[in-house]
């Protein structure tokens, strides 16, 4: 397929932006200024100021001399780059491949896109009209090569479409500046009497290279399509991305739901064919006012079930603010994993950890409450009770070893042992009574001690002597003494758990 490129050139990018923010400036000549080497220079001038002969690069004092009533505004550093970046993103609604072309342009790869707007001419016209409605004065051209489109956007005067294969004829009459070469070189060419690109094409190539270097030849080749030129899009094309442009801007919640449902159906259909499932999805709404709103979900296990994924998105849809309307919806699956359809059937209804319904429940909980709330534990080879288990990394993880049952462990363990007052015979008998939260417990039966040493390679501290004790009412506790009895040392007892 013949490649088609569109070049867009903003004639007054920054001043138009200022006018858009302060409509009163529309009928005033004004300039933007910034200090350069200690003096104020004009960085941009609007159409009215330029008509008076004020050009960027001129000192502000000179501009004021030309037009005493001139409005001078401070320029913002990096403004044009920022605007161009936003524009390049905005152009996603016309083509998936758009890039910035500093200092004042945008390049689009519109191959195979224009027919959706009813042809090349209509495509360009729509773009210019939309930019005009925003208040930007822009030129645009479509051609087979980037170079030709760039030249025509700047030197043709009005939006033009160069038919496929006709770019050579279109270029012949343009000045050498149209070849995207440095200003110095263009001036040199003008001085030598080479006032049109056509003149250059007749000259022997080695002669041109000797005089002007490789750059001129490269630009010439690029413009004529002899050398291929690639553009790097601002938004990388994702493998699993679906788009849904809308004829009318969507403002209702129902409309957004329908759009999401449709996108999910298409994406899931594709995933199902390729035996894949998505682990995360991103739903982006491009609004009429140029802003984007996005929301995302994640799943515990790859899934391509439309109904389930829609359910995950459902509570998040209310947060989408459509403002004046959404004109383009996009659904992307950044993380996709293989999914075996056979196993899914096998585990359906088995009621175990492998059941898909459990994974879907976990997805719903994660989406609303966050992943940090869900825990699953695996046995861990440690004697220290608090370390005898660890967090599982996934829902499907299997324990490596058995859970130990050889020592009694309480059903409830306090997250932090609580200090208790104890009366206990020395040296290593269980307590006779203890006071916990102001209540005295008379101990009836006891078992112990079970000495658990600190894991010295992990932390320092004293060992613990654990006792199971039962008070007269039959309530069972796990208490421990930290360390050994020694002279001039107060012994501390702690309550750390409750037995069933």
């Amino acid at each position: 397929m013949q490649k088609r490129f569109v070049a867009i050139c903003f004639r007054h990018l920054t001043t138009d932006w200022f006018t858009r923010r302060r409509p009163a400036l529309r009928h005033l000549p004004f300039i933007l200024s910034a200090p350069v080497h200690g003096r104020m220079l004009v960085t941009a001038a609007n159409a009215l100021a330029q008509a008076e002969g004020i050009a960027p690069g001129m000192p502000v004092a000179d501009a004021r001399a030309i037009l005493p009533g001139l409005e001078v505004l401070d320029d913002q550093a990096g403004l044009s780059a920022r605007l161009l970046k936003n524009f390049a993103r905005w152009f996603i609604r016309y083509t998936p491949i758009a890039t910035m072309d500093p200092p004042d342009g945008i390049l689009l790869d519109s191959t195979g896109c224009a027919h959706l707007w009813g042809g090349d001419k209509a495509y360009i016209t729509v773009i210019i009209k939309r930019l005009g409605a925003f208040g930007y004065d822009a030129g645009a051209a479509m051609a087979d090569t980037i170079g030709a489109a760039w030249a025509m956007a700047r030197f043709a005067g009005e939006p033009s479409v160069i038919e496929s294969g006709k770019h050579l004829q279109a270029l012949l009459a343009l000045p050498p500046e149209a070849l995207r070469i440095e200003t110095g070189m263009a001036e040199q060419l003008q001085k030598l009497g080479l006032r049109r690109t056509g003149d250059l094409m007749g000259i022997h190539r080695p002669a041109l290279r000797r005089r002007f270097g490789q750059q001129l030849l490269q630009r010439l080749d690029q413009a004529l399509g002899r050398e291929e030129e690639l553009i790097v899009p601002v938004q990388q094309a994702a493998t699993y991305r679906e788009r849904l442009p809308c004829l009318e801007p969507i403002v209702t919640a129902t409309g957004i739901e329908i759009a999401l449902q449709r996108l999910l159906e298409t994406l899931c259909g594709r995933l199902q064919q390729e035996q894949k499932g998505l682990r995360s999805a991103l739903f982006t709404c491009y609004r009429v006012d140029g802003k984007t709103v996005e929301t995302g979900i994640g799943t515990n296990r790859p899934s391509h079930r439309t109904a389930h994924l829609f359910k995950l998105f459902e509570p998040k849809l209310s947060a989408i603010e459509p403002a004046l309307g959404v004109e383009l919806f996009e659904l992307e699956a950044p993380v996709v994993e293989g999914l075996s359809p056979l196993q899914e059937k096998l585990w359906e209804g088995s009621g175990g950890m492998e059941d898909n319904r459990l994974a879907e429940l976990m997805d719903r909980l994660t989406c609303r409450l966050g992943a940090h709330t869900i825990h699953r534990y695996m046995p861990c080879e440690h004697h220290w009770p608090e370390r005898s288990f660890r967090l599982a990394t996934s829902l499907c993880e299997k324990p490596l070893g058995p859970w130990r049952t050889d020592r009694p462990r309480p059903l409830r363990l306090l997250s932090k042992p609580e200090l208790i007052e104890v009366a206990a015979p020395v040296p290593d008998y269980p307590p006779m009574l203890f006071r916990y939260k102001g209540r005295l417990h008379q101990i009836n039966k006891a078992d112990g001690p079970e000495r658990i040493e600190r894991e010295w390679w992990l932390e320092e501290g004293e060992y613990r002597d654990y006792y199971q004790v039962e008070d007269v009412e039959g309530q069972r506790y796990w208490v421990f003494r930290a360390g050994d009895y020694a002279e001039k040392k107060s012994i501390q007892w702690f309550l750390c758990g409750f037995f069933a």
Binding site: G349, G351, G352, M353, D355, R357, L358, E360, L361, L365, R368, L369, T373, I374, H375, R376, Y377, P379, P385, S388, F389, A392, L395, E397, K398, P399, W403, R404, T405, P408, R409, P410, L411, R412, L413, S415, D428, Y429, P430, M432, Q442, I443, N444, K445, A446, D447, G448, P449, Q468, V469, E470, V472, E473, G474, Q475, R476, G497, F498, F499, A500
Partner: protein, 243 residues
Amino acid sequence: MPDTKANIIARLQKDILPLQGYKSLTAGREVDPGWGRIGDAFPNGIFPLGAVHEFLCPGPEEGAAAGGFIAGLLGALMQSRGAAVWISSSRTLFPPALKGFGIEPDRIVFVDLQKERDVIWAMEEALKCGALAAVVGELQEISFTACRRLQLAVEQSGVTGFILRRNSRNTNISAFVSRWKITALPGETEEGLPGIGFPRWKVELLKVRNGRPGTWEIEWTAGKFRHISNLTAILPGRQKKTG
């Protein structure tokens, strides 16, 4: 069967049960962790699955006792496969201890939340998920509407729910199928042997829909509940020392 008045009433009572939300799902899925005489208290003599049971536990000790009782039930429900969800806003449950009640602790997914409201929401979502054997929730207060919502959720899915109510102030309202209170009892050891013996509980079934409430004393022995037939009086002050 002669058409005596008592028989007609019994049959009608059985007919009413499905209308009240007891589906015949329980048939063939009876769970017996050693009910013994407690079984007579349940409607139709079967522990109601696919319903929500409420346990009152005013303090941490009762919480541990009720936790043990539920863990015993869960073990029978899960039968070494199946999964359960334990939802709480202040969990102290020690996962490795569950193994002692016949549960593989890695088959339980714990959901730890900050707010009670989220706990109720998560309970409802979990109870709707038919893949689970049971859902346990630790709560303080719950409104009547929330009770009803949970009950409706289990009627759809057939999942069994357990609610542990920690020091709740308002225990009057409830749409749950039963209300229990488990308190610890002093254990018994073989004469002359040290230790504290198996866990023993006083099980009070305070309320059960279409059943007969009662009080029993049971012990958790060898992976089953066992009734204590002749509870000997515990002599206080008979402390055993080990070492």
